[in-house]
Amino acid sequence: MTELAYEDSPVAVREGLANAHRRAWRRLAAPGTWWSGPTRVAVAAEVRNAAACRLCRGRKETLSPYTLGGVHDSLGSLPESHVDVIHRIVTDPGRLSKTWLDDILASCLSDAEYVETVGVIVNVMAIDQFRRGIGMAPAPLPESLPGEPMRVRPRGAKPGAAWVPLLAPEDVTEAEADLYPDVPLITYVQRALSLVPEEARAYNAIGCEQYTPTGASWDFESRVREISYQQIELIASKVSVLNGCFY
C-alpha cells in the first residue's frame, strides 16, 4: 500500500491536514459505494492525465464545448464515455450543462456512479493542488484494493434542487445521521455529494482541514488559520473566478 507522506515536505504540514490526506488516499484505493478500488484509482489517474488532453485543449478554445467531437487522450483503462465525464469536469467545469449530464445519465453512468466519480475527482484535485502549492510533486497513486463496492443508495434522496438527487437533512435515516450538523441552514454545496454519503463525508473532511473547520464563524476579524478569514475568502474567490464558477 502506497502511503501519502509529508516527511519530505519543504514546509511543516499540520498533522490534522496530513492525516486527512492519508485517509483520503486509503479511501481512494478501496472499494467505494458504486466503484471498485481499481476503477477509483483509474479515475484518479485520468484526472491527472486530463491536463495533457488535446481534445480538452481544443474544446477550451471553442465558443461551446459541445460542438467539438473527437476522442480524448486517455490512459485506456476506462470507457471513453467515463473519460469524457472526468476530463470535462477537470478541464472545463464552468461550462458543464444539465443537458450534457442528462445524456450521460441516459447512456452510460447511473446518477450515483456519476456522483462518486465527482467525489474521486475533487479529492485528488484538492490534494494534488495543495502539494503543488507547497512545492511538492503529486503523490504516487495508491495500489487499488480488492473487494466489492457497497452499492447502497440513501432512501431519502430526492430529485429537484440539483441535476442529481440530493439527501435533505430532514430525510436522513440512521445510516446518514452523521452527515449534517444540527443547524437550520445546510447549504447546497454541503448537500451536493449526498447521493453517495461516503463521498460527502470524505470531502467534508478535506474541507474542514483545507478551508475552515465546521462551525467556524463568519467573523472576518477572526483567525482560524495562519491566514485571516479575509485572505481565505480572497483565495477562494480567485479560484472560483478562474474556474468560471458562479456558486
Binding site: 482541514e209 474556474n243 468560471g244
Partner: protein
C-alpha cells in the same frame, strides 16, 4: 506587517492572488516565485493554509458545477456589489439560482451576517 500599496484592505492580497493564479493556471515559474515570497513575508504556515484553500476550492467549484446545485439567493444578494467586477455574472452557473434551503421548522437562519427566511 509588510503590506504593499496594491493590497487594498486585505494584507498581502496582491501576493496571494499571484500565488493562486500561478497555481491554478499551472505557471510553474510564477508559482515558485510567489511561494518563496509568501514564506518570506508571511511564514511557512501561511503557505500551507493558502495552498490548502486553493486546493479545496479546486474541489468545491467542481462539486458545484458538476452537480448543478443552485446558488442560494441570499448569497447572490450578498455578493451583488462585487460580482459584476469579477465578470461572474456571465458564468453559465449564474442562471442557476434558488432559495436557501432553510430547515422547515426553523424560524430563520443566518448566512454570515444575513438573516434568511
Amino acid at each position: 506587517m509588510d503590506v504593499s500599496s496594491d493590497d487594498g484592505a486585505v494584507p498581502h492580497a496582491a501576493l496571494l492572488i499571484r500565488f493562486t493564479e500561478a497555481l491554478i493556471t499551472g505557471d510553474a515559474a510564477a508559482l515558485d516565485a510567489a511561494r518563496e515570497e509568501i514564506v518570506e513575508r508571511m511564514g511557512a504556515g501561511a503557505l500551507v493554509d493558502a495552498a490548502g484553500v486553493a486546493g479545496a476550492f479546486e474541489g468545491f467549484t467542481r462539486i458545484a458545477d458538476a452537480i448543478g446545485i443552485p446558488t442560494e439567493t441570499v448569497k447572490v444578494e450578498m455578493t451583488e456589489d462585487f460580482r459584476a467586477g469579477l465578470g461572474a455574472d456571465s458564468f453559465t452557473g449564474a442562471r442557476n439560482v434558488g432559495d436557501a434551503p432553510v430547515r422547515a421548522d426553523a424560524e430563520a437562519a443566518c448566512w454570515g451576517t444575513a438573516r434568511v427566511k
